[in-house]
Assembly symmetry: C2
Protein backbone atom coordinates (compact mmCIF):
# COMPACT_ATOMS: atom_id res chain seq x y z
CA UNK A 1 0.00 0.00 0.00
CA UNK A 2 1.33 3.40 -0.81
CA UNK A 3 -0.52 5.12 1.96
CA UNK A 4 -1.11 3.59 5.35
CA UNK A 5 -4.44 4.04 6.97
CA UNK A 6 -3.70 4.25 10.63
CA UNK A 7 -7.04 5.06 12.15
CA UNK A 8 -6.91 1.92 14.20
CA UNK A 9 -3.30 1.60 15.25
CA UNK A 10 -1.64 4.96 14.72
CA UNK A 11 0.98 6.18 17.16
CA UNK A 12 -1.41 8.62 18.83
CA UNK A 13 -4.05 6.02 19.60
CA UNK A 14 -4.11 4.34 23.01
CA UNK A 15 -2.88 0.74 22.99
CA UNK A 16 -5.81 -1.47 22.03
CA UNK A 17 -7.34 -3.60 24.72
CA UNK A 18 -6.39 -7.14 23.74
CA UNK A 19 -9.43 -9.33 23.37
CA UNK A 20 -9.79 -12.66 25.09
CA UNK A 21 -9.52 -15.02 22.15
CA UNK A 22 -11.74 -18.07 22.02
CA UNK A 23 -10.23 -21.51 22.29
CA UNK A 24 -10.46 -23.26 18.94
CA UNK A 25 -9.98 -26.88 18.02
CA UNK A 26 -7.94 -27.56 14.91
CA UNK A 27 -10.16 -30.15 13.33
CA UNK A 28 -8.67 -31.56 10.18
CA UNK A 29 -10.18 -33.62 7.42
CA UNK A 30 -9.01 -34.47 3.90
CA UNK A 31 -9.64 -31.66 1.44
CA UNK A 32 -9.74 -33.80 -1.65
CA UNK A 33 -11.04 -37.22 -2.45
CA UNK A 34 -10.17 -39.36 -5.46
CA UNK A 35 -13.07 -40.73 -7.45
CA UNK A 36 -13.10 -43.03 -10.41
CA UNK A 37 -14.57 -41.41 -13.50
CA UNK A 38 -14.98 -42.33 -17.14
CA UNK A 39 -13.67 -39.91 -19.72
CA UNK A 40 -15.19 -39.26 -23.14
CA UNK A 41 -13.37 -42.24 -24.61
CA UNK A 42 -14.92 -44.49 -21.98
CA UNK A 43 -11.60 -44.90 -20.16
CA UNK A 44 -11.40 -45.11 -16.38
CA UNK A 45 -9.47 -42.35 -14.64
CA UNK A 46 -8.91 -41.44 -11.04
CA UNK A 47 -9.78 -37.80 -10.50
CA UNK A 48 -9.43 -35.77 -7.29
CA UNK A 49 -12.51 -33.77 -6.36
CA UNK A 50 -12.86 -31.35 -3.45
CA UNK A 51 -14.45 -32.48 -0.22
CA UNK A 52 -17.81 -31.01 0.69
CA UNK A 53 -19.20 -31.77 4.12
CA UNK A 54 -22.02 -30.47 6.25
CA UNK A 55 -21.08 -28.60 9.41
CA UNK A 56 -23.96 -27.92 11.75
CA UNK A 57 -23.31 -24.97 14.02
CA UNK A 58 -24.67 -25.03 17.56
CA UNK A 59 -24.37 -21.94 19.75
CA UNK A 60 -24.70 -22.90 23.40
CA UNK A 61 -26.37 -26.10 22.17
CA UNK A 62 -28.89 -24.26 20.04
CA UNK A 63 -28.76 -25.22 16.35
CA UNK A 64 -28.13 -22.19 14.15
CA UNK A 65 -27.31 -23.34 10.63
CA UNK A 66 -25.76 -26.09 8.55
CA UNK A 67 -22.91 -24.93 6.33
CA UNK A 68 -21.62 -27.03 3.44
CA UNK A 69 -17.86 -26.59 3.52
CA UNK A 70 -14.59 -27.89 2.16
CA UNK A 71 -13.46 -28.12 5.78
CA UNK A 72 -10.06 -26.45 5.59
CA UNK A 73 -10.57 -24.04 8.50
CA UNK A 74 -13.92 -24.85 10.06
CA UNK A 75 -13.34 -22.91 13.31
CA UNK A 76 -12.48 -19.66 11.49
CA UNK A 77 -15.44 -20.26 9.21
CA UNK A 78 -17.85 -20.57 12.11
CA UNK A 79 -16.41 -17.51 13.83
CA UNK A 80 -16.56 -15.46 10.65
CA UNK A 81 -20.07 -16.66 9.90
CA UNK A 82 -21.25 -15.47 13.32
CA UNK A 83 -19.41 -12.19 12.72
CA UNK A 84 -20.68 -11.52 9.20
CA UNK A 85 -24.24 -12.51 10.08
CA UNK A 86 -23.83 -10.04 12.94
CA UNK A 87 -24.85 -12.62 15.51
CA UNK A 88 -21.89 -11.53 17.64
CA UNK A 89 -20.34 -8.08 17.81
CA UNK A 90 -16.96 -8.95 19.27
CA UNK A 91 -14.66 -11.94 19.40
CA UNK A 92 -14.72 -11.59 23.21
CA UNK A 93 -18.23 -12.96 23.26
CA UNK A 94 -17.05 -16.42 22.18
CA UNK A 95 -15.47 -18.74 24.74
CA UNK A 96 -14.65 -21.67 22.47
CA UNK A 97 -15.43 -23.34 19.16
CA UNK A 98 -15.13 -27.12 19.04
CA UNK A 99 -15.39 -28.83 15.67
CA UNK A 100 -15.83 -32.58 15.51
CA UNK A 101 -15.86 -34.08 12.03
CA UNK A 102 -17.05 -37.42 13.38
CA UNK A 103 -20.43 -35.81 13.94
CA UNK A 104 -20.07 -32.88 11.50
CA UNK A 105 -20.77 -30.42 14.27
CA UNK A 106 -19.32 -27.15 15.54
CA UNK A 107 -20.15 -26.42 19.17
CA UNK A 108 -19.83 -22.73 20.00
CA UNK A 109 -19.75 -21.76 23.66
CA UNK A 110 -20.41 -18.10 24.41
CA UNK A 111 -19.30 -16.25 27.53
CA UNK A 112 -22.56 -14.41 28.05
CA UNK A 113 -25.23 -16.80 26.90
CA UNK A 114 -27.29 -16.74 23.79
CA UNK A 115 -29.91 -14.16 24.71
CA UNK A 116 -28.71 -11.71 22.10
CA UNK A 117 -28.15 -14.36 19.47
CA UNK A 118 -31.65 -15.66 20.05
CA UNK A 119 -33.06 -12.22 19.46
CA UNK A 120 -31.00 -11.77 16.31
CA UNK A 121 -31.75 -15.12 14.74
CA UNK A 122 -35.44 -14.49 15.42
CA UNK A 123 -35.07 -11.62 12.97
CA UNK A 124 -35.29 -14.14 10.14
CA UNK A 125 -31.69 -14.80 9.30
CA UNK A 126 -31.99 -15.27 5.61
CA UNK A 127 -28.65 -16.67 4.72
CA UNK A 128 -26.59 -15.50 1.87
CA UNK A 129 -25.08 -17.12 -1.13
CA UNK A 130 -25.33 -16.94 -4.89
CA UNK A 131 -27.92 -14.22 -4.59
CA UNK A 132 -30.50 -16.55 -3.13
CA UNK A 133 -31.59 -15.69 0.28
CA UNK A 134 -29.70 -12.61 1.13
CA UNK A 135 -28.11 -10.69 3.93
CA UNK A 136 -29.10 -7.72 1.86
CA UNK A 137 -32.30 -6.89 3.72
CA UNK A 138 -31.48 -4.72 6.68
CA UNK A 139 -27.80 -4.78 5.97
CA UNK A 140 -27.52 -2.05 3.37
CA UNK A 141 -28.69 0.50 5.94
CA UNK A 142 -25.80 -0.38 8.21
CA UNK A 143 -23.28 -0.47 5.42
CA UNK A 144 -24.22 3.08 4.49
CA UNK A 145 -22.58 4.28 7.69
CA UNK A 146 -19.30 2.50 7.07
CA UNK A 147 -16.50 4.91 6.40
CA UNK A 148 -13.67 3.26 4.53
CA UNK A 149 -10.18 4.67 5.01
CA UNK A 150 -8.16 6.42 2.31
CA UNK A 151 -6.05 3.40 1.34
CA UNK A 152 -4.65 3.16 -2.17
CA UNK A 153 -3.04 0.38 -4.18
CA UNK A 154 -0.36 0.81 -6.82
CA UNK A 155 -0.89 -0.92 -10.15
CA UNK A 156 2.41 -2.77 -9.66
CA UNK A 157 1.19 -4.04 -6.29
CA UNK A 158 -2.01 -5.20 -7.93
CA UNK A 159 0.02 -7.18 -10.45
CA UNK A 160 2.12 -8.64 -7.65
CA UNK A 161 -1.04 -9.66 -5.82
CA UNK A 162 -2.51 -11.37 -8.87
CA UNK A 163 0.79 -13.15 -9.41
CA UNK A 164 0.88 -14.34 -5.79
CA UNK A 165 -2.55 -15.91 -6.31
CA UNK A 166 -1.31 -17.55 -9.50
CA UNK A 167 1.61 -19.14 -7.66
CA UNK A 168 -0.39 -20.23 -4.61
CA UNK A 169 -0.68 -23.97 -4.10
CA UNK A 170 -4.35 -24.76 -3.86
CA UNK A 171 -7.10 -27.30 -3.80
CA UNK A 172 -8.37 -25.58 -6.93
CA UNK A 173 -5.22 -26.51 -8.79
CA UNK A 174 -5.43 -30.14 -7.71
CA UNK A 175 -9.17 -30.70 -7.73
CA UNK A 176 -10.98 -27.66 -9.18
CA UNK A 177 -14.50 -26.68 -8.14
CA UNK A 178 -13.66 -24.44 -5.20
CA UNK A 179 -13.52 -20.70 -4.76
CA UNK A 180 -10.49 -18.99 -3.30
CA UNK A 181 -10.05 -15.71 -1.56
CA UNK A 182 -7.24 -13.94 0.18
CA UNK A 183 -6.38 -10.90 2.24
CA UNK A 184 -3.45 -8.77 1.14
CA UNK A 185 -1.49 -5.83 2.43
CA UNK A 186 -0.18 -4.34 -0.78
CA UNK A 187 1.20 -7.29 -2.71
CA UNK A 188 1.84 -9.32 0.44
CA UNK A 189 -0.57 -12.18 1.01
CA UNK A 190 -1.63 -12.44 4.64
CA UNK A 191 -4.00 -15.38 4.38
CA UNK A 192 -5.44 -17.53 1.62
CA UNK A 193 -8.62 -19.55 2.02
CA UNK A 194 -10.59 -21.89 -0.22
CA UNK A 195 -14.06 -23.31 0.17
CA UNK A 196 -16.81 -24.81 -1.92
CA UNK A 197 -18.61 -21.49 -1.69
CA UNK A 198 -17.17 -18.02 -2.00
CA UNK A 199 -19.28 -16.88 0.94
CA UNK A 200 -17.72 -19.45 3.22
CA UNK A 201 -14.28 -18.40 2.03
CA UNK A 202 -14.80 -14.72 2.86
CA UNK A 203 -16.40 -15.59 6.19
CA UNK A 204 -13.36 -17.70 7.03
CA UNK A 205 -11.13 -14.69 6.41
CA UNK A 206 -13.35 -12.58 8.66
CA UNK A 207 -12.90 -15.20 11.39
CA UNK A 208 -9.13 -15.26 10.89
CA UNK A 209 -9.00 -11.45 11.21
CA UNK A 210 -10.73 -11.70 14.57
CA UNK A 211 -8.32 -14.35 15.82
CA UNK A 212 -5.14 -12.28 15.61
CA UNK A 213 -3.32 -12.22 18.97
CA UNK A 214 -2.71 -8.46 18.74
CA UNK A 215 -6.44 -7.82 18.48
CA UNK A 216 -8.84 -7.83 15.56
CA UNK A 217 -6.96 -6.99 12.38
CA UNK A 218 -8.19 -3.71 10.92
CA UNK A 219 -9.28 -3.92 7.29
CA UNK A 220 -8.66 -0.30 6.34
CA UNK A 221 -5.24 -0.87 4.79
CA UNK A 222 -5.98 -4.27 3.28
CA UNK A 223 -7.04 -5.61 -0.10
CA UNK A 224 -9.56 -8.42 -0.46
CA UNK A 225 -9.11 -10.83 -3.37
CA UNK A 226 -11.75 -13.30 -4.53
CA UNK A 227 -11.98 -15.67 -7.48
CA UNK A 228 -15.74 -15.16 -7.41
CA UNK A 229 -17.85 -12.45 -8.94
CA UNK A 230 -18.30 -9.09 -7.26
CA UNK A 231 -21.97 -9.30 -6.40
CA UNK A 232 -23.61 -6.95 -3.92
CA UNK A 233 -23.12 -9.50 -1.16
CA UNK A 234 -19.38 -9.76 -1.74
CA UNK A 235 -18.96 -5.99 -1.78
CA UNK A 236 -21.01 -5.65 1.40
CA UNK A 237 -18.98 -8.32 3.16
CA UNK A 238 -15.73 -6.61 2.23
CA UNK A 239 -17.09 -3.30 3.54
CA UNK A 240 -18.21 -5.02 6.75
CA UNK A 241 -14.62 -6.11 7.27
CA UNK A 242 -13.54 -2.52 6.64
CA UNK A 243 -11.58 -3.48 3.52
CA UNK A 244 -11.82 -0.68 0.91
CA UNK A 245 -10.31 -2.44 -2.13
CA UNK A 246 -11.65 -5.64 -3.69
CA UNK A 247 -10.04 -7.53 -6.55
CA UNK A 248 -11.64 -10.35 -8.51
CA UNK A 249 -10.67 -12.63 -11.34
CA UNK A 250 -14.32 -12.42 -12.44
CA UNK A 251 -16.70 -9.60 -13.26
CA UNK A 252 -19.21 -7.51 -11.38
CA UNK A 253 -22.97 -7.21 -11.14
CA UNK A 254 -24.98 -4.01 -11.24
CA UNK A 255 -25.93 -4.04 -7.58
CA UNK A 256 -22.36 -4.78 -6.55
CA UNK A 257 -21.34 -1.80 -8.64
CA UNK A 258 -23.89 0.50 -7.05
CA UNK A 259 -22.97 -0.50 -3.52
CA UNK A 260 -19.26 -0.09 -4.25
CA UNK A 261 -19.80 3.38 -5.69
CA UNK A 262 -21.90 4.48 -2.73
CA UNK A 263 -19.22 3.31 -0.32
CA UNK A 264 -16.28 4.70 -2.28
CA UNK A 265 -14.93 1.17 -2.46
CA UNK A 266 -12.44 0.39 -5.19
CA UNK A 267 -13.67 -2.59 -7.21
CA UNK A 268 -11.28 -4.22 -9.65
CA UNK A 269 -12.44 -7.10 -11.81
CA UNK A 270 -11.22 -9.41 -14.57
CA UNK A 271 -7.82 -9.24 -12.94
CA UNK A 272 -5.56 -11.75 -14.66
CA UNK A 273 -2.02 -11.42 -15.85
CA UNK A 274 -1.53 -7.68 -16.41
CA UNK A 275 -5.11 -6.94 -17.36
CA UNK A 276 -7.97 -5.63 -15.24
CA UNK A 277 -10.87 -3.24 -15.24
CA UNK A 278 -11.61 -0.80 -12.44
CA UNK A 279 -15.38 -0.53 -11.91
CA UNK A 280 -15.36 2.06 -9.15
CA UNK A 281 -13.08 3.97 -6.80
CA UNK A 282 -10.40 4.53 -9.46
CA UNK A 283 -8.87 7.24 -7.24
CA UNK A 284 -7.64 4.47 -4.94
CA UNK A 285 -5.39 3.12 -7.69
CA UNK A 286 -1.93 4.60 -8.16
CA UNK A 287 -1.91 4.25 -11.91
CA UNK A 288 1.21 2.90 -13.57
CA UNK A 289 -0.04 2.32 -17.13
CA UNK A 290 3.51 1.70 -18.29
CA UNK A 291 3.22 -1.66 -16.50
CA UNK A 292 0.06 -2.63 -18.39
CA UNK A 293 -0.18 -5.55 -20.73
CA UNK A 294 0.10 -4.54 -24.37
CA UNK A 295 -3.24 -3.66 -25.93
CA UNK A 296 -5.04 -6.87 -26.85
CA UNK A 297 -5.92 -7.61 -30.43
CA UNK A 298 -9.72 -7.40 -30.51
CA UNK A 299 -11.34 -10.26 -32.35
CA UNK A 300 -13.48 -9.19 -35.30
CA UNK A 301 -17.18 -9.25 -34.42
Amino acid sequence: MTRQEDTFHGPAAPPPRLPRLPRLTQARAPLTHAVEVLNERGERESLPIPAERPLTVYVDRREIVTLMTLGAHPEWLVLGYLRNQRLVDSVDEIESITVDWDVNAAAVATRGGIARIEERTARKVVTTGCGQGSVFGGLMDEVHHISLGPARLAQGELYGLVNAIRLQESTYKSAGSVHGCALFQGAQMLVFVEDVGRHNAVDTIAGWMWMQPGGPLPGGDKVFYTTGRLTSEMVIKSAQMGVPIVVSRSGMTQMGHEVARQLGLCAIGRATNRRFVCYSGAERIVWQPELAAPEPVRPAE
Copy 2:
Protein backbone atom coordinates in the same frame (compact mmCIF):
# COMPACT_ATOMS: atom_id res chain seq x y z
CA MET B 1 -32.97 -39.68 -25.54
CA THR B 2 -32.58 -43.19 -26.72
CA ARG B 3 -35.11 -44.60 -24.32
CA GLN B 4 -38.23 -42.80 -23.23
CA GLU B 5 -39.27 -42.94 -19.66
CA ASP B 6 -43.01 -42.94 -19.73
CA THR B 7 -43.88 -43.40 -16.11
CA PHE B 8 -45.73 -40.13 -16.14
CA HIS B 9 -47.37 -39.96 -19.54
CA GLY B 10 -47.31 -43.41 -21.04
CA PRO B 11 -50.22 -44.69 -23.10
CA ALA B 12 -51.55 -46.86 -20.29
CA ALA B 13 -51.73 -44.02 -17.78
CA PRO B 14 -54.98 -42.14 -17.27
CA PRO B 15 -55.00 -38.63 -18.75
CA PRO B 16 -53.46 -36.31 -16.17
CA ARG B 17 -55.77 -33.90 -14.41
CA LEU B 18 -54.82 -30.48 -15.76
CA PRO B 19 -53.84 -28.12 -12.99
CA ARG B 20 -55.28 -24.67 -12.61
CA LEU B 21 -52.29 -22.54 -13.53
CA PRO B 22 -51.61 -19.38 -11.59
CA ARG B 23 -51.92 -16.03 -13.29
CA LEU B 24 -48.47 -14.52 -13.73
CA THR B 25 -47.42 -11.01 -14.62
CA GLN B 26 -44.67 -10.68 -17.20
CA ALA B 27 -42.57 -8.09 -15.46
CA ARG B 28 -39.64 -6.99 -17.56
CA ALA B 29 -36.53 -5.05 -16.67
CA PRO B 30 -33.23 -4.52 -18.46
CA LEU B 31 -30.87 -7.47 -18.03
CA THR B 32 -27.68 -5.54 -18.60
CA HIS B 33 -26.47 -2.12 -17.69
CA ALA B 34 -23.53 -0.26 -19.21
CA VAL B 35 -20.99 1.13 -16.77
CA GLU B 36 -17.93 3.23 -17.38
CA VAL B 37 -14.75 1.48 -16.33
CA LEU B 38 -11.04 2.16 -16.59
CA ASN B 39 -8.88 -0.53 -18.13
CA GLU B 40 -5.30 -1.34 -17.14
CA ARG B 41 -3.99 1.43 -19.38
CA GLY B 42 -6.17 3.95 -17.59
CA GLU B 43 -8.49 4.30 -20.58
CA ARG B 44 -12.22 4.76 -20.19
CA GLU B 45 -14.42 2.02 -21.61
CA SER B 46 -18.11 1.33 -21.50
CA LEU B 47 -18.73 -2.20 -20.29
CA PRO B 48 -22.06 -4.01 -19.97
CA ILE B 49 -22.59 -5.75 -16.63
CA PRO B 50 -25.54 -7.93 -15.64
CA ALA B 51 -28.37 -6.47 -13.64
CA GLU B 52 -28.81 -7.66 -10.07
CA ARG B 53 -31.90 -6.56 -8.20
CA PRO B 54 -33.59 -7.53 -4.98
CA LEU B 55 -36.98 -9.23 -5.25
CA THR B 56 -38.83 -9.55 -1.98
CA VAL B 57 -41.35 -12.37 -2.03
CA TYR B 58 -44.60 -11.97 -0.12
CA VAL B 59 -46.99 -14.91 0.18
CA ASP B 60 -50.47 -13.66 1.04
CA ARG B 61 -48.78 -10.46 2.24
CA ARG B 62 -46.38 -12.28 4.50
CA GLU B 63 -42.70 -11.62 3.70
CA ILE B 64 -40.83 -14.84 2.93
CA VAL B 65 -37.43 -14.01 1.46
CA THR B 66 -35.49 -11.51 -0.60
CA LEU B 67 -33.86 -12.99 -3.69
CA MET B 68 -31.10 -11.19 -5.58
CA THR B 69 -31.84 -11.84 -9.23
CA LEU B 70 -30.99 -10.86 -12.78
CA GLY B 71 -34.71 -10.43 -13.31
CA ALA B 72 -35.21 -12.32 -16.57
CA HIS B 73 -38.13 -14.47 -15.41
CA PRO B 74 -39.06 -13.36 -11.91
CA GLU B 75 -42.46 -15.08 -11.82
CA TRP B 76 -41.02 -18.51 -12.73
CA LEU B 77 -38.24 -17.89 -10.23
CA VAL B 78 -40.67 -17.23 -7.40
CA LEU B 79 -42.80 -20.24 -8.32
CA GLY B 80 -39.77 -22.50 -8.55
CA TYR B 81 -38.37 -21.14 -5.30
CA LEU B 82 -41.59 -22.01 -3.49
CA ARG B 83 -41.52 -25.43 -5.17
CA ASN B 84 -37.89 -26.27 -4.45
CA GLN B 85 -38.09 -25.02 -0.88
CA ARG B 86 -41.11 -27.28 -0.63
CA LEU B 87 -43.31 -24.47 0.60
CA VAL B 88 -45.98 -25.58 -1.87
CA ASP B 89 -46.62 -29.09 -3.13
CA SER B 90 -48.57 -28.33 -6.27
CA VAL B 91 -48.91 -25.48 -8.72
CA ASP B 92 -52.67 -25.56 -8.00
CA GLU B 93 -52.03 -23.97 -4.64
CA ILE B 94 -50.97 -20.68 -6.23
CA GLU B 95 -53.61 -18.28 -7.53
CA SER B 96 -51.33 -15.58 -8.91
CA ILE B 97 -47.84 -14.11 -8.82
CA THR B 98 -47.54 -10.38 -9.40
CA VAL B 99 -44.08 -8.91 -9.83
CA ASP B 100 -43.62 -5.15 -9.69
CA TRP B 101 -40.09 -3.92 -10.36
CA ASP B 102 -41.02 -0.40 -9.20
CA VAL B 103 -41.10 -1.76 -5.66
CA ASN B 104 -38.93 -4.88 -6.21
CA ALA B 105 -41.67 -7.09 -4.88
CA ALA B 106 -43.38 -10.33 -5.86
CA ALA B 107 -46.85 -10.75 -4.40
CA VAL B 108 -47.94 -14.38 -4.30
CA ALA B 109 -51.62 -15.09 -3.70
CA THR B 110 -52.49 -18.63 -2.67
CA ARG B 111 -55.85 -20.31 -3.11
CA GLY B 112 -55.93 -21.89 0.31
CA GLY B 113 -54.18 -19.43 2.58
CA ILE B 114 -50.77 -19.62 4.08
CA ALA B 115 -51.39 -21.95 7.01
CA ARG B 116 -49.18 -24.66 5.57
CA ILE B 117 -46.52 -22.24 4.41
CA GLU B 118 -46.43 -20.69 7.86
CA GLU B 119 -45.82 -24.08 9.39
CA ARG B 120 -43.11 -24.90 6.88
CA THR B 121 -41.22 -21.63 7.12
CA ALA B 122 -41.28 -21.99 10.90
CA ARG B 123 -39.14 -25.07 10.33
CA LYS B 124 -36.16 -22.77 9.86
CA VAL B 125 -35.92 -22.46 6.13
CA VAL B 126 -32.21 -22.18 5.80
CA THR B 127 -31.82 -21.12 2.25
CA THR B 128 -29.39 -22.58 -0.11
CA GLY B 129 -26.61 -21.21 -2.19
CA CYS B 130 -22.89 -21.57 -2.53
CA GLY B 131 -22.93 -24.12 0.25
CA GLN B 132 -23.76 -21.56 2.87
CA GLY B 133 -26.99 -22.15 4.58
CA SER B 134 -28.34 -25.27 3.06
CA VAL B 135 -31.46 -27.07 2.10
CA PHE B 136 -29.45 -30.14 2.91
CA GLY B 137 -30.82 -30.63 6.42
CA GLY B 138 -33.99 -32.64 6.29
CA LEU B 139 -33.93 -32.83 2.55
CA MET B 140 -31.59 -35.74 2.02
CA ASP B 141 -34.08 -38.02 3.77
CA GLU B 142 -36.75 -37.15 1.25
CA VAL B 143 -34.43 -37.40 -1.71
CA HIS B 144 -33.58 -40.96 -0.70
CA HIS B 145 -37.09 -42.00 -1.69
CA ILE B 146 -36.90 -40.46 -5.14
CA SER B 147 -36.85 -43.08 -7.83
CA LEU B 148 -35.38 -41.76 -11.03
CA GLY B 149 -36.52 -43.32 -14.28
CA PRO B 150 -34.31 -45.38 -16.60
CA ALA B 151 -33.54 -42.57 -19.06
CA ARG B 152 -30.31 -42.67 -21.02
CA LEU B 153 -28.43 -40.17 -23.13
CA ALA B 154 -26.31 -40.94 -26.17
CA GLN B 155 -22.83 -39.44 -26.32
CA GLY B 156 -23.75 -37.76 -29.61
CA GLU B 157 -26.80 -36.17 -27.97
CA LEU B 158 -24.56 -34.94 -25.15
CA TYR B 159 -22.30 -33.27 -27.71
CA GLY B 160 -25.32 -31.75 -29.41
CA LEU B 161 -26.53 -30.42 -26.09
CA VAL B 162 -23.18 -28.84 -25.26
CA ASN B 163 -23.09 -27.31 -28.72
CA ALA B 164 -26.61 -25.87 -28.30
CA ILE B 165 -25.42 -24.14 -25.13
CA ARG B 166 -22.39 -22.80 -26.98
CA LEU B 167 -24.59 -21.27 -29.68
CA GLN B 168 -27.19 -19.85 -27.30
CA GLU B 169 -27.43 -16.07 -27.19
CA SER B 170 -26.98 -15.05 -23.60
CA THR B 171 -26.44 -12.34 -21.07
CA TYR B 172 -23.24 -14.20 -20.21
CA LYS B 173 -21.89 -13.60 -23.69
CA SER B 174 -22.69 -9.90 -23.57
CA ALA B 175 -21.99 -9.10 -19.93
CA GLY B 176 -20.47 -12.11 -18.16
CA SER B 177 -20.94 -12.80 -14.45
CA VAL B 178 -24.11 -14.88 -14.63
CA HIS B 179 -24.80 -18.58 -14.45
CA GLY B 180 -26.85 -20.35 -17.06
CA CYS B 181 -28.84 -23.53 -16.97
CA ALA B 182 -31.13 -25.35 -19.33
CA LEU B 183 -33.49 -28.27 -19.61
CA PHE B 184 -33.03 -30.64 -22.52
CA GLN B 185 -34.81 -33.60 -24.03
CA GLY B 186 -31.95 -35.39 -25.73
CA ALA B 187 -30.11 -32.67 -27.61
CA GLN B 188 -33.22 -30.47 -27.87
CA MET B 189 -33.16 -27.43 -25.62
CA LEU B 190 -36.56 -26.85 -24.00
CA VAL B 191 -35.73 -23.80 -21.91
CA PHE B 192 -32.63 -21.77 -21.11
CA VAL B 193 -32.36 -19.53 -18.07
CA GLU B 194 -29.70 -17.24 -16.66
CA ASP B 195 -29.41 -15.59 -13.29
CA VAL B 196 -26.78 -14.08 -11.03
CA GLY B 197 -26.91 -17.26 -8.98
CA ARG B 198 -27.07 -20.81 -10.22
CA HIS B 199 -29.68 -21.62 -7.57
CA ASN B 200 -32.02 -18.99 -8.90
CA ALA B 201 -31.49 -20.34 -12.41
CA VAL B 202 -32.45 -23.90 -11.52
CA ASP B 203 -35.41 -22.70 -9.45
CA THR B 204 -36.61 -20.72 -12.45
CA ILE B 205 -36.56 -23.90 -14.53
CA ALA B 206 -38.53 -25.71 -11.82
CA GLY B 207 -41.12 -22.92 -11.99
CA TRP B 208 -41.27 -23.14 -15.78
CA MET B 209 -41.84 -26.92 -15.59
CA TRP B 210 -44.85 -26.31 -13.36
CA MET B 211 -46.32 -23.73 -15.73
CA GLN B 212 -46.78 -26.02 -18.73
CA PRO B 213 -50.37 -25.94 -19.96
CA GLY B 214 -50.48 -29.71 -20.33
CA GLY B 215 -49.65 -30.19 -16.68
CA PRO B 216 -46.36 -30.23 -14.78
CA LEU B 217 -43.61 -31.40 -17.09
CA PRO B 218 -42.14 -34.70 -15.89
CA GLY B 219 -38.39 -34.68 -15.43
CA GLY B 220 -37.77 -38.38 -15.93
CA ASP B 221 -36.81 -38.14 -19.59
CA LYS B 222 -34.99 -34.81 -19.35
CA VAL B 223 -31.40 -33.66 -18.95
CA PHE B 224 -30.46 -30.73 -16.74
CA TYR B 225 -27.51 -28.57 -17.82
CA THR B 226 -25.77 -26.02 -15.60
CA THR B 227 -22.69 -23.88 -16.04
CA GLY B 228 -22.16 -24.15 -12.28
CA ARG B 229 -20.47 -26.83 -10.24
CA LEU B 230 -22.25 -30.03 -9.29
CA THR B 231 -22.47 -29.53 -5.56
CA SER B 232 -24.78 -31.59 -3.38
CA GLU B 233 -27.41 -28.89 -3.59
CA MET B 234 -27.46 -28.90 -7.38
CA VAL B 235 -27.72 -32.68 -7.53
CA ILE B 236 -30.52 -32.66 -4.97
CA LYS B 237 -32.45 -29.99 -6.87
CA SER B 238 -32.17 -31.97 -10.09
CA ALA B 239 -33.43 -35.08 -8.31
CA GLN B 240 -36.30 -33.07 -6.81
CA MET B 241 -37.34 -32.17 -10.33
CA GLY B 242 -37.13 -35.86 -11.24
CA VAL B 243 -34.32 -35.25 -13.74
CA PRO B 244 -31.89 -38.22 -13.74
CA ILE B 245 -29.05 -36.75 -15.83
CA VAL B 246 -27.10 -33.60 -15.02
CA VAL B 247 -24.43 -32.03 -17.19
CA SER B 248 -22.06 -29.27 -16.14
CA ARG B 249 -19.31 -27.26 -17.72
CA SER B 250 -17.64 -27.33 -14.30
CA GLY B 251 -16.58 -30.05 -11.88
CA MET B 252 -18.13 -31.83 -8.95
CA THR B 253 -17.77 -31.89 -5.19
CA GLN B 254 -17.53 -34.96 -3.01
CA MET B 255 -20.98 -34.61 -1.48
CA GLY B 256 -22.54 -34.01 -4.88
CA HIS B 257 -20.83 -37.20 -6.00
CA GLU B 258 -22.11 -39.22 -3.06
CA VAL B 259 -25.68 -38.01 -3.47
CA ALA B 260 -25.61 -38.69 -7.20
CA ARG B 261 -24.31 -42.22 -6.65
CA GLN B 262 -26.95 -42.96 -4.03
CA LEU B 263 -29.69 -41.79 -6.36
CA GLY B 264 -28.35 -43.50 -9.47
CA LEU B 265 -28.18 -40.09 -11.09
CA CYS B 266 -25.86 -39.68 -14.04
CA ALA B 267 -23.48 -36.77 -13.37
CA ILE B 268 -21.38 -35.47 -16.24
CA GLY B 269 -18.88 -32.69 -15.66
CA ARG B 270 -16.23 -30.67 -17.48
CA ALA B 271 -18.41 -30.92 -20.54
CA THR B 272 -16.96 -28.70 -23.22
CA ASN B 273 -16.40 -29.33 -26.87
CA ARG B 274 -16.15 -33.12 -27.19
CA ARG B 275 -14.65 -33.71 -23.77
CA PHE B 276 -16.35 -34.69 -20.51
CA VAL B 277 -16.01 -36.90 -17.48
CA CYS B 278 -18.78 -39.07 -16.11
CA TYR B 279 -18.69 -39.07 -12.31
CA SER B 280 -21.56 -41.45 -11.70
CA GLY B 281 -24.36 -43.32 -13.41
CA ALA B 282 -22.25 -44.23 -16.45
CA GLU B 283 -24.86 -46.85 -17.39
CA ARG B 284 -27.15 -44.00 -18.43
CA ILE B 285 -24.75 -43.00 -21.20
CA VAL B 286 -24.97 -44.71 -24.56
CA TRP B 287 -21.25 -44.64 -25.23
CA GLN B 288 -20.04 -43.60 -28.67
CA PRO B 289 -16.32 -43.21 -28.05
CA GLU B 290 -15.73 -42.88 -31.79
CA LEU B 291 -17.24 -39.39 -31.44
CA ALA B 292 -14.79 -38.39 -28.70
CA ALA B 293 -12.25 -35.63 -29.07
CA PRO B 294 -8.77 -36.90 -29.86
CA GLU B 295 -6.73 -37.70 -26.77
CA PRO B 296 -5.33 -34.48 -25.36
CA VAL B 297 -1.61 -33.96 -25.15
CA ARG B 298 -0.86 -33.97 -21.44
CA PRO B 299 1.41 -31.18 -20.31
CA ALA B 300 4.62 -32.36 -18.66
CA GLU B 301 4.40 -32.05 -14.86
